[in-house]
Symmetry: C2
Subunit: 369 residues, 2 copies
């Protein structure tokens, strides 16, 4: 890596599936949630996608963008990816609710949820990830500008993980609590196929190469957290703080031994720890998913209790949230030792449209069906 | 640079002057403005500085911090710097208003200012700069936690410029308008001595190695800006968008020729351009300073007119704002072509305390005088 190794680093845009899902997270996230204006119909949405797809393609590949007057702002590509998703309402708007993929609906409420509408569902989502903050900004601005006539911004959520150059790419992030968080993840083609990507042919060809994103905004309360000692912190997550290895022994990627006990006969990994409840429990191993979470740290809000305003822009991808996210979250909501320190304040679900080719646009298979 | 070149990259902490002033800007900024609680007196401030200085030293050097339970969060140093400044009120608090350095007071109001108190003066400032966002977050959190008993956060301002690896270190940043902005800057020891660092001995020894920061929050209105064509954008700044070279010809660091004219006899560099008005006009060349600005891009605020909420956390360092920042800004305020597109919404001035040694603390020369 030279001092300008990131300058022209690109991740391919076209393919069966969109980028920004399988790739290890870049340093920075800008997630944009937009609502279509009331007058925008199916034809308007098609126009918008026909405009945005080539723009995103050129941005991510470092190619010229017609009529864009600030090309210097995006000259650094820095592994930029732009990933597009549709909220459930799009299927109603185009009068094809019958085509909704399974599980594309609001996540059922959990008893500990404290959801705020301002972080809630939108019609469209654009997940922009990049290793350079200036390019991230300019790409987000350009997309918003191109959406201006047809959509309004509902929210922007920024997030971060390791800078490129500060840890080997693919290092599991630490959350704001300092825990190695997100170890269990698909890591080969077969696992992505089983957990993440929908397939389809014939009548369901429009689904082929798509996925479903569950986006949660999870506030982290550091004030009470920091009152815990190291042992208590590790018990809550079930992993060592040092390297993320399970408390039953071994390194981060070693299998946990849920039956291991200490000399007094106590389980080394608490049954209510985040690790114990996050790992799959279903016999068929279906309750697993792709985690791609980012931390956030925004300016404190007036009147908030914690010193800092931080947490996770928690992003996941899966074939069907009903069988994946929701099954896992139900366990966490009921028992997770971490619950005392977190609050789910935002929730949204999107159909991540299939990848494109140079002559197709986002969602074309659905919109022209 | 290896894939982990940033991991242990450090900038020295101790010395005659603080770090975070002369060094080219790291990728990310977190600026914290804090007010002392009403009950905190001089003794309390000394205690706070005695606590914070070694913490900042260890954070920036990657050394262990006593009683800190999340060392993994700051294991990546990534060129972290932490720079401390005192607002004018500190001199009144310690009952030594006679010791205020020249120019340490609120910047006089300009006719175009639209200042908001929420971005205004505070008692203390900590400028945290880093190439890794996680370390930036954890360092800021730890400082806030250590301030908790004695001070409250007035504001947090985050900013960004090129990521490490996306441009050679020291590349002049582009502002949100895409302009190369900040070319004219001291770049050798002599210029820093003349423009930035105060010296002192005997009765004024407490000033030796200090400086004065002027911090302005400058909102950038991209909606009207983007209506301009490339020529108009360049005329406003007086520099080419491509490489920042002056419109009179040459590259970014070539001297501008203010007398150069086109075939019709018009000046190539408009007298009201940002370049023309920013450059020194005083005969003794005193109206120059150290610019170290960052861009910001926050979530839009309810009811704002522009699509994005962006601008500059504009940071400068100088010996005396009365003769430097204020002289320049008076010209800009009166005539700058850029004025239509920007609004100064925050202003604060701080005495940047001298550097430390391993057995001294921030502001000791003043506080023990």
């Amino acid at each position: 890596m030279s001092e300008t190794a990131l300058q022209n680093a690109t991740i391919p845009f076209d393919g069966r599936v969109q980028s920004g899902v399988e790739q290890p997270p870049q340093a920075l996230l800008e997630m944009l949630g937009l609502n279509l204006k009331p007058e925008v119909d199916k034809a308007g949405l098609i126009e918008l996608m026909q405009e945005l797809t080539p723009t995103a393609r050129q941005l991510t590949q470092g190619n010229p963008i017609p009529n864009f007057l600030a090309p210097e702002m995006v000259a650094v590509t820095a592994n930029l990816t732009i990933t597009c998703g549709f909220g459930e309402r799009i299927f109603d708007l185009i009068e094809r609710p019958d085509l909704k993929p399974e599980g594309l609906h609001a996540i059922p409420g959990f008893k500990r949820d404290l959801l705020q509408d301002r972080w809630g569902q939108s019609d469209l989502v654009f997940q922009i990830c990049c290793d350079d903050p200036g390019t991230l900004f300019a790409a987000g601005r350009l997309l918003l500008e191109k959406c201006r006539d047809k959509a309004t911004l509902k929210w922007m959520q920024k997030g971060f993980t390791y800078a490129y150059g500060s840890a080997p790419r693919g290092t599991t992030p630490r959350n704001p609590f300092g825990q190695v968080d997100g170890t269990i993840n698909p890591d080969n083609e077969q696992e992505f196929k089983e957990q993440v990507w929908l397939d389809g042919e014939g009548e369901t060809a429009y689904l082929d190469g798509s996925s479903i994103m569950v986006l949660r905004r999870i506030e982290n309360f550091l004030d009470p957290w920091e009152l815990l000692d190291r042992d208590a912190r590790e018990r809550v997550i079930g992993r060592k703080l040092s390297d993320g290895g399970p408390l039953s022994g071994g390194g981060e990627h070693d299998e946990e031994d849920m039956e291991a006990k200490d000399a007094e006969g106590n389980y080394l990994i608490d049954r209510r720890s985040h690790l114990a409840l996050s790992r799959e429990h279903e016999e068929d191993g279906s309750d697993v998913l792709r985690r791609r979470a980012y931390a956030y740290d925004d300016a404190p809000e007036p009147g908030q209790s914690d010193l800092t305003n931080s947490g996770l822009v928690w992003v996941s991808f899966q074939r069907n949230p009903d069988k994946q996210f929701t099954v896992i979250q139900k366990r966490l909501d009921a028992h997770d030792l971490l619950n005392k320190f977190v609050s789910h304040i935002g929730s949204a679900v999107y159909w991540i449209v299939p990848g494109t080719t140079a002559d197709s646009y986002w969602g074309q298979g659905l919109l022209e069906k």
